[in-house]
Every structure is written in structure tokens, then in C-alpha cells.
Symmetry: C2
Subunit: 192 residues, 2 copies
Amino acid sequence: MSLRHAILVMLEAKPGSGYDLRRRFDSGIGNFWYATHQQVYQELKKLHDEKLVEFKLQAQSDRPDRKVYRLTRAGRAALKAWFREPVEPPRLKQALLIKLFGAALTDAPALLAELERHEQLHREELARYREAERQYFAQDELTRHEFLGPYLTLRCGIRYARDWIESLQEARELLRAGAPPRAPVPGRGAGG
Amino acid sequence: MSLRHAILVMLEAKPGSGYDLRRRFDSGIGNFWYATHQQVYQELKKLHDEKLVEFKLQAQSDRPDRKVYRLTRAGRAALKAWFREPVEPPRLKQALLIKLFGAALTDAPALLAELERHEQLHREELARYREAERQYFAQDELTRHEFLGPYLTLRCGIRYARDWIESLQEARELLRAGAPPRAPVPGRGAGG
DNA sequence: ATAGCCATGTAACCAGTTACATGATTGA
DNA sequence: TCAATCATGTAACTGGTTACATGGCTAT
């Protein structure tokens, strides 16, 4: 139940409409927390009912009116309280690994193609993160300090994507070889 | 909607009861797909209604009767069909990263303690994986070949846990320093 | 014309979680 | 006596997804 906290963090960084928030879920926090426009609008409604956010109607002549949300004092308090509670570690759901686990139950070419496809997706992901990192360092020190939090999540994403690429490469090599390794791969790759 | 496929893969590896499956979700596939006993029993019921699995009642004198499930021919076909369909990449939900993203909104000590707590959890996770890897290599080559799929998922898990530890260490260091890095960390850590 | 963007919403459904229930056996 | 393990299940609820709806503006 952290969707609301993702939204509160986003709104505290910068007020915005449901539509704005939805788009922000395509990057930044979106790299590790996903939400559809339905979830955003409904959660905003709940947050408003609970008086954790408020909005100003922003009439626009050429486009639909916007509800620009921001935190209330109670919202800020709720967010601070959440920061002090422990979050439970996430429960992973990696469907691709179910396939890899059951590698013996399918034909190798289909699985190899699927692994390669995912590897490619992670390469693109990694490229996006690297570009974002480059942009981060193009800023002055004051701005870098302000965005230290987002930068640190970016670093997590870089390691995540990079290691998927490594793992999928390894998996493809060993599956192609059709035989298990004789011993743990030495060095960093062995988990040491 | 891959819970059913996780169950089908598990049952194809070895028939078992709902209770068995539930326990198997504590390791192996459980390292990357979680399920409660409710989900298991209800999914088994659905799979049975759809005639993808069948069961034999195993009466036991001292303990409750077990329903020992296994795949039907249709179940095996459904599983093979799934292996040929692409799986969508997972939508991550990492609540801890919401906190890290919003680091500026809370006091450092609370956040640092939370990061350290998670780092510790990942250290324990990594230790489990390493032990499992050790056991894998203690087996003969034929058995290693049979369990190549599970081994490869273990490798993914090792990289995953190891990198969380690295990322959380880095985050704690930079947050403690109270200042952003001057330039990307050189070498492998920089995303290269 | 056709599609896409901006901006919001209702309704139905499905997946996942939590609480509650049963009942025998084993070990502290 | 109390808790844990084995083994299964019903019921209520919450969170998340998909489909459908509106309506003007802009670009091809």
C-alpha cells in the first residue's frame, strides 16, 4: 500500500494534476513503482477524502480544467510518519525466472530468444539510466545536492539493469553449451 | 497471471499437495514468486476446474488426507503454450526506493537505519543463495545438468542480492557525507 | 478523415490479502 | 498446557486491471 506514499512524495516535490502524476510515473519514481491513470485518480480521490491533499481548480480555455493537487499539513504529517515506519522488503514477481527455472520443460531456441529479448529491454533501460546520470552530473553542485535522493535510486537502477544483462548473458551461454558449469565461476561473478 | 504457471512448473517437477506447494514457495521458485496458502489452494481449484491438473486422494491414518496433484495432458499442453508466449517484464514495486527518492523529506538517521536494516536482510538472502550454490556444486554432473534451470535462477538471485548490498552501502555513504558525489564513480560501479 | 494528446471519470472484474475455522498429532 | 506442524477450506475485503465514456484541440 505504498502507491499513496509515492504520490505524496511526488506532490511534495512539485504540486500537479492526476494527469501530471500519471506521466511522472513514466520516469523517476516510475522506474520502481508503476501506476495506471485509474489508480492515480482513485488514490487522489481517497487522499482528498482523508484531507491529506487539497486541490485548486485551474480553468484552461483551450484544454480541460485541471485539478492541481498539493499536500495539506495533515498530508505532510502522514508522509513523515510513513518515513519512520519500516517498509517490508518487496515480494518479487519475476515471470521470466519461472521460465528459466523450468528450462528443461521447453525447447532451447524459444527460451533463448525470450532471454535475448529481455536482455535487449534491459540494455535499453540501462541506456536511459546512464543518460539520466549524465544529465545529473551536468548540473551544479547545489542542484545535485537537492536531487541526491533521486540520484541514489538511479544508481540502484543502473546496477539492477546491468546485472540482469549479465545474468541473462550467462544463462544463454550455459544453456547453449547444454551442460552445467564444472565449478563456480571465479571472481566477482561467483558471488564473492 | 503467472501464479498458475509457477504451480504447473512445480507440479511437473514433482507432484504434490497444496500444502507441499506452499512450502516449496519458501525456496526455489519462491525466491522470485511469492504465494500464500490461499492463493495456492484457490489456484489449484481453478486449475482442476479447467482440467489442467488432477489429484489422487491420499488417505493418511495419523494426519489429514492429502490431495496429491499432478498435471493432466491438457495441463502439460497449456504449460508448453505458455513457454512459447512472451512474458511481459515485471513491474517493480520497491517501496524502499520511494523513501530513498524522498530522502530530503525525512531526517537522515531514520533513513540510514532503514537502509541498514534492508542491507542486512539482503546479506542474509545472499548467504542463503551461496549455500544453495555450494550444494549445487556438491552434486554429480548428471544432477547438475538436470537442475541447470534452477541454478541459473540462483545466479540471478546472487547478483540481485549482492547489488542491493552495494547500492545500499553507497547510498548510506553518500547520505552520511551529506553531499553529492563530484563525478560518476569510476570503473564498474559507474555503470560501465 | 484519423489518430493522438490533454484531462477526467464510472463500472465491472480479477487477483491478492487477511481473518476465521477445523482437528488430530507432536514436542517443550 | 501451550504452541507448532500437517492439511484443507470459506468469507470478506482491498488493491489493481480493463473496458468504456466524454470532448475539444492539434497535427498528418
